[in-house]
Symmetry: C2
Subunit: 82 residues, 2 copies
Amino acid sequence: MARVIVDVVLKDEILDPQGDAISRALPRMGFSFTPTAVRQGKSFILSLDHAPSASELKEIENAAATLLSNPVIETFTIRVEN
Amino acid sequence: MARVIVDVVLKDEILDPQGDAISRALPRMGFSFTPTAVRQGKSFILSLDHAPSASELKEIENAAATLLSNPVIETFTIRVEN
């Protein structure tokens, strides 16, 4: 059993109103830590019954670029957990 | 500069229609790898200008449980990147 996780985040130059809203909500809710920025992202967890081969990882990268993210405004990273 | 990342995912017993839709879309789009399951999650990236202290991590854990996730249907994990 392996899990391939695709993390999708907005590019730095794209405004993130949800992240900003969380940033403003934290002090209002009584939290004292003050992050310099909050960004919200998406993650996709693909479970596989075997460790992914190099060609499967290549395909997953293609799927991440075409199906799971919008390359105009988002970037993605892929990590594998065994 | 450190980043604390809160990953929020639906509990295993909660249906995930978006994940299922992605699962079904993959073969239709010509991808040949077949995950046993696809789950969609959210992530929150908190940027800090210093490495988080133990008490800050405790506060972030509280924020994750109350503001960033719905504990009825979701679980979360926290990871720190320096």
